[in-house]
């Protein structure tokens, strides 16, 4: 097999057919994914830019959002975060780590009986406020909790 074919096949195999197909314009990403990945929000370098990209520019502080997270994170690479929203009609919960290089961490859209509750583990680069942004009944609400980090978890 000549060298060019080997390199081409190796490249195509490594990239994966979906990615190659998207690059070739054969398969539009929107056909594969439910909703386009919100690149603007996830690459935003400030909390306000991230919120704007999510359509959540002026969230109202709410005491009905509880953030359960350690006061001091032993390991910044694995910080357990639980967000519970008692606000009726919660349709989504987003998590931001305000001092991460790109604050937007995740956005969970809930439907068909899913409760206003998510639990996950995140990376934090440094001590920061963890902010939860909840959309419910067409309005946006927020709450935040500080988590101290001794060893940053982003590898930078």
């Amino acid at each position: 097999m000549n060298q060019f074919r080997r390199t081409f096949l190796k490249g195509a195999g490594a990239t994966g057919t979906v990615a190659v197909a998207i690059a070739a314009g054969l398969l539009k990403p929107s056909q594969v994914l439910a909703a386009e990945w919100n690149k603007t929000a996830f690459e935003a370098k400030s909390v306000s830019d991230a919120l704007k990209s999510m359509g959540a520019s002026a969230p109202v502080d709410s005491k009905d959002i509880a953030i359960k997270a350690p006061d001091i994170a032993e390991n910044g690479a694995v910080v357990p975060i639980e967000v519970t929203s008692k606000i009726a009609g919660t349709t989504s919960i987003a998590i931001l780590a305000e001092k991460n290089a790109t604050p937007m961490v995740a956005d969970f859209v809930l439907s068909n009986g899913a409760e206003g509750y998510v639990s996950t583990r995140i990376k934090m680069g440094t001590t920061s406020l963890i902010r939860a942004v909840v959309k419910a009944g067409g309005k946006t609400y927020t709450a935040a909790k500080e988590v101290k980090v001794t060893i940053g978890g982003c590898g930078g």
Partner: protein, 104 residues
């Protein structure tokens, strides 16, 4: 990345408590290879969806700041024992994985 996900779906009254543990490197694209000095490219799950009996209950978008080998917990009301939970994820390179479990 093709390693199976672990799903645990337990019923508490009529609410299912669902816990998922996925296998994924969740590389941020900020780390450098110690030997070559080259940046290790970003490789992370971007989309996660969950259905119960075919109905979407959770549709999540993730960034690279979700920890390696992601853990996800969520709850769904109006669920019965035996209902089928399916979890799908897709990463920034187009790799996918799916797993299912019955609520017990």
């Amino acid at each position: 990345m093709a390693e199976p996900m672990k799903i645990r779906a337990t019923l508490q009254g009529d609410t299912a408590d669902i816990k998922v543990l996925m296998n994924h490197v969740m590389e941020t694209g900020q780390r450098k290879d110690a030997k070559t000095g080259q940046v290790i490219p970003a490789h992370f799950i971007q989309h996660v969806s969950a259905t119960v009996n075919g109905k979407t209950v959770l549709d999540a978008q993730w960034g690279a700041a979700i920890s390696k080998n992601p853990y996800l917990g969520f709850r769904v009301k109006g669920v019965k024992a035996g209902d089928k939970v399916v979890i799908n994820w897709e990463d920034n390179k187009g790799d996918k994985n799916t797993a299912e479990a019955a609520v017990s």
